[in-house]
Amino acid sequence: MNQTVDIKELNERIKQESSFVDLLTIEMNKVIVGQKHLVESLLTGLLSDGHILLEGVPGLAKTLAINTLASIVDAKFSRIQFTPDLLPADLLGTMIYSQKNEEFVVKKGPLFTNFVLADEINRAPAKVQSALLEAMQERQVTIGDKTYKLPEPFLVLATQNPIEQEGTYPLPEAQVDRFMLKVVISYPQKNEEQEIIRHNLAQTFPKASTILKPDDIIRARKVVKDVYMDEKIEKYIVDIVFSTRFPENYKLEKYKDMISYGASPRASISLAMASKAYAFIKRRGYVIPEDVRAVCHDVMRHRIGLSYEAEANNITSEEIISEILNTVEVP
């Protein structure tokens, strides 16, 4: 094969750098039974430097998954339970008067960590949500008159419970858009559930080994950015995003009145980044349409606004995305 030098080099680098992916997946699978998609999405988010919003009923191993990931990466982990009386200072930290030193000293909050699990994010009021989302966007926190950088890698996993909506503060569209992926977690399969029972009854909970350092992740992120994306793939991504804004131009007239607003340019960026990360996970130095399709649902599902008409007809964003993928021509 007479392959061009850049791609050949890149493929070699990716093969080297992504060697940890298989190990990481094996370690994750030791602890988490099933939930292959969740593990893949966590990796995609971790490698593409994007935050993840998890939606699923309680008891689906959301907390365990991120806890395991933190232990595999040898990173710090915080879990914050969002409640209606939570204050921004409870997250970011505050200044406390030290009697010993006779001055105000900074007490950093639980946000100063590598992996944050914001459990039930929609139970806290808007001011707390926006404090977290600002930290997610800027990667820094200001306490008093000093700005502190957050540690790298910094990954926020927020969870939402889709069934209990009473007394919640739903995240506004602008804030939801800042999550790169919205992963919907489903129930495990029958055989997986059997295995979960066995583990629990025998009280034999396997432990994941630490195989990575935070620096490895930072280095891998740099390689992910170098994954080659052809112009045809870029056009394919743009077509997918544009079809949510102008469905009538893509033979999707039936969804014209169902979509109140389409995906933002941030969706295009996230789709491209997540596709690159997915290609990296699959140990490829270039993106193919399969990669785009694999991450499309997670990237787009929270970025399409549904109209009242869609809600009345029980049309979900999942259906719209599937139809888009079945209609937009693959390059």
């Binding site: 094969m1 392959q3 061009t4 850049d6 791609i7 045809k232 270039y286 209609t327």
Partner: protein
């Protein structure tokens, strides 16, 4: 008193006097007269009441204001516009007609009509003679003591076809439209080709393999990879194959990735197992060329095109012969047999 008795006893002498001395009034050089078409009218009938004026052309004469009645028993149906004629001796003859009617029987008095005008500084007046109109009731008066009677039924006149003659053009038009509509509907129902096809005939679609082979010939003749356009070569090649698979096997190959296409092909009955692997090689090589800057060797490029030709030729659907074609073939065969027997 009935109309007839009234006519004989009192009214007749008065009417005779009126005819002998017509209602003319001459005021110096202005003459006005009023006359009825007849002095006798049946109740509800109509006749003209005519006013004639002769006057110098330099005088402005004001007509009396007659709106809808002349007297309380005589009604005006309509009035004509004044008809003015210029005479040679600088005079004008003006005539105006009122169509009148009355619904009250009896002798009705019509008072003189007054016309006012200015003669120099003096105001003058001209008058017509008074006249009378006898309105008679031709029907016998109803006597309630004789009992009540039903309202008369309408007359039932026999229908004659000749009455329709005046509507001949309408009837003819309706018949023609009806016939056209019937024949239009008949031909619409009995048509073998859609109406749209009659006006905008579409070219019959070629079978998928013919289109694919044509497209592959075009790719071959364009010599794309030879001129360094490897990406375009593989894009056209895969597009041709995907379009062929979409038409041939009815799955949306144009909207599917290589993996999805291969999964769909698994469920198709391919005549040769090698075809599946050949297609997998072509599509994955094309993916590398399209998305990974991969430049295959010349042999690979040629092999991909050969595999594409092979796939299309091996999987092409033979057209099912039509009934007409089969009958024709059978006829030809039997005629050949007969010919052989004769020989």
């Amino acid at each position: 008193m009935t109309g007839k008795k009234l006519l004989n006893a009192k009214i007749l002498p008065a009417l005779l006097l009126m005819f002998i001395f017509p209602a003319i009034h001459i005021a110096q050089n202005v003459t006005v007269s009023a006359k009825l078409d007849s002095t006798l009218m049946v109740i509800g009938g109509q006749m003209d009441f005519t006013i004639e004026i002769s006057q110098p052309d330099n005088i402005q004469l004001a007509f009396p204001n007659i709106s809808d009645t002349i007297t309380k028993n005589i009604e005006v149906v309509r009035e004509s516009r004044p008809d003015t004629t210029h005479l040679d001796n600088q005079r004008l003859a003006i005539t105006k007609r009122y169509r009148i009617t009355s619904f009250d029987s009896g002798l009705h008095y019509i008072p003189p009509l007054r016309f006012e005008y200015m003669e120099g500084e003096l105001a003058r007046r001209a008058e017509t003679q008074s006249s009378a109109l006898l309105v008679v009731n031709p029907f016998t008066e109803v006597d309630p003591s004789k009992g009540f009677f039903d309202i008369k039924l309408p007359f039932n006149l026999p229908f004659l076809l000749s009455e329709l003659w005046r509507f001949k053009y309408w009837i003819l038009s309706i018949l023609i439209i009806g016939l056209l509509a019937y024949f239009g509907y008949y031909f619409y129902k009995k048509r073998e080709i859609p109406v749209k096809e009659i006006f905008f005939p579409t070219k019959p679609k070629e079978p998928p393999h013919i289109m694919a082979l044509k497209s592959l010939d075009k790719i071959k003749s364009e010599k794309l990879w030879q001129s360094g356009q490897v990406k375009s070569y593989y894009s056209q090649l895969t597009d041709t194959l995907r379009r062929y698979m979409e038409d041939r096997y009815n799955f949306p190959a144009m909207e599917q990735t290589t993996g999805e296409i291969m999964s769909a092909l698994k469920y198709q009955e391919l005549p040769d197992k090698n075809l599946f692997h050949k297609m997998e090689t072509v599509l994955s090589t094309a993916d590398l060329a399209k998305f990974a800057k991969y430049e295959p060797l010349p042999d690979e490029n040629d092999n991909c095109l050969i595999s594409a030709y092979f796939f299309v030729n091996q999987t092409k659907e033979e057209p099912v012969p039509t009934r007409e074609a089969l009958e024709k073939e059978l006829k030809e065969a039997s005629s050949e047999d007969k010919q052989e027997e004769r020989d």
